[in-house]
Amino acid sequence: MSANGYFGEFGGRYVPEILLPALLQLETAYEQYRQDPCFREELAHYLTTYVGRPTPLYYARRLTEHLGGGKIYLKREDLNHTGSHKLNNSLGQTLLAQKMGKRKIIAETGAGQHGVATATAAALLGCACTIFMGAEDVRRQSLNVFRMKLLGAQVVEVRSGTQTLKDAINEAMRCWAARVRDSHYLIGSVVGPHPYPTMVRDFQSVIGEEVKQQILEKEGKLPDYLIACVGGGSNAMGLFSPFLNEREVKMIGVEAAGQGISTGKHAAPLNVGSKGVLHGALSYILQDGDGQILPAHSLSAGLDYPGAGPEHSYLKDSGRAQYLSVTDEEALSAFQMLSRWEGIIPALESAHALAYVLKLAPSLAAEQVLVVNLSGRGDKDVQTVSKLLGGEAGE
């Protein structure tokens, strides 16, 4: 990564002047504390005693045998406190905010996972917390709204634009502009202006670091494939980043093809988007010929975002990672399959990564190893899936 937070040509800090001093302050503070042994120790302490890390790397024997091919390991981020990988980052940033003397936290949320994680971290560390959530997502994830309120957060329903994650970020940035002196904006993915894509990646890279150690213990070698879903891309970056220099490890990010790439109703900017600036960074985004941002479509609220992080954009162009997509339907079927064959109900987001594994694993030799990031648990999606399946949980 070069100065000013660029990954190749991607990234940057395309934000109003009003926010720039706060970003510079955040960058300086992050640079200082990331190397501070006390800060690292404190964060590690919370990750162990509160979040429940390290999370298991689980060999999915029945699924592997059923598919007949490569060995499938699941990185169980769903077993973290609050049910997803999001708390790794929320906790890191809330601690950092506290060190910076900012005791008010602002965040956006799509599926509600990041909102719940942030509300949790704020409750743990005694900070005030305001969460912005698109009205459409509030409808889709009403239980998570209640969870956030229970945790003491104020939830603001966003009715502008497409009323989803993209607009929640817009509104959070506007709110931050008005309260920038005493508030920290806690972005939940590897998107946004520098230093967020780097900082969020670092806080999430605990996932990949654990995997590296765990897979060496279990298999005595590094994995052949790392597979993760990509919305903004934080769980994928967290898994990938410690392996970037291990050239033999292939990395696959799975985007949401929604109703199908050809229908235009998808959330796959790395597959079919173009370069542009959204939420303060240059990356692959969904836009029309005039640079207007196009709405994304996915069954999964957490992937329903028309951009992907700048580092993913860079990894795509450099060829270090490959980005593919699966449809709503394929994800839904993977969602049921993991429930049936392993007794694990995955988040719809994570089901996208699994859906690709269902295609890939049978084509691999038995000694090949795949690690899938099971980024979250599916309890939040049970209602949505129940409606889609007409109350019938498969055959």
Binding site: L20, A178, V277
Partner: protein
């Protein structure tokens, strides 16, 4: 695309924006800079409105190019942008409208838009077409000096003014950086927040403006939140110009059905408001004179 001519001594001529500020200063006046959102609710309406505003007291005009995700804007301008986009307004149409306006009025015209609109169109093409359309400057609220490099070089080559914003949160070091690359004027953001009408002027405004002035000789224009003639009058003595946006758009928003039937009536109402604003900012001079 040809550059504007350089005079006999090789000195760059002052831009139309700079010249306007100089002329106003000579008359002891302040500049009134209304903002309109292009295509809200149609480009025909915007063109007529801008023509009339230039005769009703507008000294410079900001033409907003709508963007789907305007993070520096409050609800009023967000809705105006959405109305324009829903009506199918395109950048090509806006450029044609600007060229048509330039054929009829001499008022400096300044585009205001977000960087993705420019990036997607192509930086060079955007600058070339803006120059061709007779645009004098461009304001890009999400393009701080650090990210402006390539676009600024093209704007400088075309001798168009890239106008930067200074915010109450800007440090001295940042103000120095902004001043060093600014042209035309510096847009001073009067509030810590987004655009949209406020109830009163921020008490620290004078201190902030003085701080900006200590870094530059360029004219300063104050915008964000100025919602009525009284507020405009309070701000005017501090700066060289006053920018008013949301409170003009509120008058469009409140009259949408009427615009369909009798656009002239609404344009007249807005012009009357702008005339009132212009009188308000020059009140001090009139009261002395």
């Amino acid at each position: 695309m040809c550059k504007r001519s350089v005079n006999y001594w090789g000195v760059k001529p002052v831009s139309r924006i700079g010249q306007t500020f100089q002329e106003l200063k000579a008359k002891g006046e302040k500049a009134l800079i209304p903002y309109v959102s292009c295509g809200d609710p149609s480009l025909e309406f915007t063109e007529q409105l801008v023509l009339k505003l230039s005769k009703a007291g507008a000294d410079l005009l900001e033409l907003g190019i709508p963007y789907s995700d305007p993070v520096a804007d409050g609800p009023t301008i967000q809705k105006a942008s959405q109305r324009a986009l829903a009506a199918g307004v395109k950048l090509e149409g806006i450029l044609r409208m600007a060229a048509s306006l330039r054929g009829k009025i001499q008022t400096p015209l300044i585009f205001m838009t977000y960087f993705n609109v420019i990036y997607r169109y192509g930086l060079k093409q955007f600058v070339d077409r803006s120059l061709y359309a007779g645009i004098d400057g461009v304001i890009v609220p999400d393009l701080p000096p650090e990210e402006a490099g390539a676009f600024k070089r093209l704007m400088d080559e075309a001798e168009l003014d890239l106008i930067f914003l200074a915010a109450p949160t800007s440090t001295g070091e940042r103000l120095q950086k902004i001043a060093s690359c600014a042209r035309g004027f510096i847009y001073c953001v009067s509030v810590t927040g987004v655009t949209g009408s406020r109830e009163k002027i921020n008490a620290d405004l004078a201190t902030f403006i003085e701080k900006v002035r200590s870094h530059t000789d360029l004219p300063l224009a104050v915008g964000f939140g100025i919602a009525n003639p009284l507020m405009a009058r309070q701000v005017a003595p501090l700066a060289e110009g006053v920018i008013v946006g949301s409170s003009i758009i509120e008058r469009i928003e409140a009259n949408l059905p009427l615009i369909n039937e009798q656009p002239d009536v609404v344009i007249e109402e807005i012009c009357a408001y702008v005339t009132e604003l212009k009188k308000a900012i020059n009140f001090t001079k009139e009261s002395i004179g």
